[in-house]
Symmetry: C2
Subunit: 321 residues, 2 copies
């Protein structure tokens, strides 16, 4: 067994943590999940270490035998230092928590930290983009909304690791109050949380899936809510596309569970704009919009890809030095 | 005279063309302007060649003695081929016009073509950004609105040269009809053309300057228009900042003639948002907003900088090869 070439990718969410083991051919050879202990930095590190241990046990190695571990985590990440802050759903405030060094010390393995949406964007590039794509924006529509920007095949983090945090751009100044205090943030009008509030699903079905099904069946209220949400997401796709003119925009997150009806609705919404505005036509936006593959743990896979890449870079530097 | 090291930078506008000659120390040693013949591709090339000839005469050389000529032009530019299309104000439609090769043949000098706002963004990096800045967005608010994106010191053009074309992102779906056909495009609610329509200035004074003066003097209508325009521009600054998390956002174009009152109003508008949204605070947006230097011909200077850089790269490649 090529134990030395296994990397782990861990996606720490507000309620669940998912981890995959990836071999040298980028195949997933192990996959575990567990609940997150979101009571602040130490608790998060401890529950992450437990998941890593479970994963290691599953693939038959010690946690320290992974070549490198990638950790995808919400909040503002300093990838150089391996710290995170402003991860509200994990109980982490503005003070940086050294999740990377702490997990590394506990497990005896190098740890690479990446923002969870940025990690998912790397996975989207590998799994959802047309071959040859180098520039991509991953738009994550889950409880919140954020984007991951990949340029020339690498994550663009920005000056303070905040690139892609578009969830609180105001898109409707008369819209509902957002938890951040503003009115009509993108997140307040088009996130999974908004859909759940406006279309509470019964019987364990996901709200967005239920909404799209009801709209397809002709329910007028459902059609109105769906079209409003899609309209806002189409504007978000446009602003990202117009700012960076990237090849490919992949929509993922909980909303992507809706599948093809979501993709068709989004493509139609950006097409309408394309028909009306001449310069906008050149963008050919519909052809650039894609959906994340259903069910794939993008965050965990992307964390593993980020870790492998960083390990390769370090190895190259070591050879040069 | 170090004739061999002079480069020319030309900024072709819908009504005027401006050209500067720049020496090896990036000092402007010549500056001419003329009206643009905007009746399609050939007319534009002919009037651009006349301006280049005037500039050459001014600095005492033949047009062909410039080391390289940089051409900043509105529309969708293919920098590789030196072509432009969709430059509505120049009478250029969707068919590419080879402005670079045509001007090069006429003048007997290499010509580098860059979108005008992208060129201005390079000049903004050199003239308006804090020392050490590598990543910058230049937001041009003139008759229209567009942005130039500079990452790691280089223009980010995107897949089809469309990066930064945010003028037709819808920011107010109930807003006025835009010339593009949509309602409430950024350009329809916050451009110079919009200000001129809503606050027609008398006596040759610029509309935006008159508007800000009237607002400062307490005119309620002026305050309302000013605050609405500034609000929309603040949202544009936010969406650009949140997407790329760049160090520096420079506002230029005709609106920048307003000067310090514009800068203060914009900083206050993004500050308000910062106070309300915790994650947004981390951006420290007000500190990132700057104004283009008054009166500097950013487009022409940027075109010269783009030309010089391309010439240096070619020289390096030639040496390596």
């Amino acid at each position: 067994m090529t134990v030395g070439h296994l990397v782990a990718g861990i996606d720490v969410g507000g309620t669940k943590t998912r981890a995959v083991a990836m071999d040298a051919e980028a195949l997933i050879v192990g996959d575990v999940r567990s609940s997150t202990d979101a009571a602040g930095g130490e608790a998060v590190v401890a529950s992450t270490f437990r998941v890593l241990t479970d994963l290691a046990e599953l693939v038959g190695i010690a946690p320290g035998a992974f070549e490198v571990v990638g950790l995808g985590i919400p909040g503002v990440v300093n990838a150089e230092l391996g710290t995170v802050r402003h991860a509200v759903n994990l109980g982490v405030d503005g003070h940086p928590v050294a999740v990377g060094p702490l997990l590394s010390a506990a497990a005896g393995v190098p740890v690479v930290v990446e923002n969870d949406v940025n990690a998912a964007a790397l996975a989207a590039l590998a799994l959802a983009a047309p071959a040859g794509t180098e520039d991509l924006i991953y738009l994550n529509v889950g409880t919140g909304i954020a984007a991951g920007v990949v340029l020339r095949g690498r994550v663009w983090r920005g000056r303070r690791g905040l690139a892609g945090e578009i969830g609180h751009v105001v898109v409707d100044s008369n819209g509902p109050r957002c938890r951040c205090g503003q009115r009509g943030c993108l997140e307040a009008v088009a996130s999974g949380a908004t859909i759940t509030r406006r279309w509470p699903a019964a019987g364990g079905r996901r709200a967005a899936v239920a909404l799209f099904a009801a709209a397809a069946a002709g329910d007028r209220d459902a059609i109105a809510v769906r079209d409003e949400v899609i309209g806002h997401l189409a504007r978000a796709v446009e602003l990202l596309a117009f700012t960076l003119d990237v090849d490919c925009i992949v929509v993922g997150g909980g909303l992507a569970d809706v599948g093809r009806p979501l993709l068709l609705a989004l493509r139609a919404a950006v097409t309408r704009t394309g028909r009306e505005a001449s310069l906008v036509e050149v963008f050919d936006l519909p052809a650039r919009v894609h959906l994340a593959p259903a069910g794939a743990p993008l965050g965990a896979i992307g964390a593993a890809l980020a870790a492998r890449r960083r390990a390769l870079l370090s190895a190259e530097r070591a050879e040069v030095g």
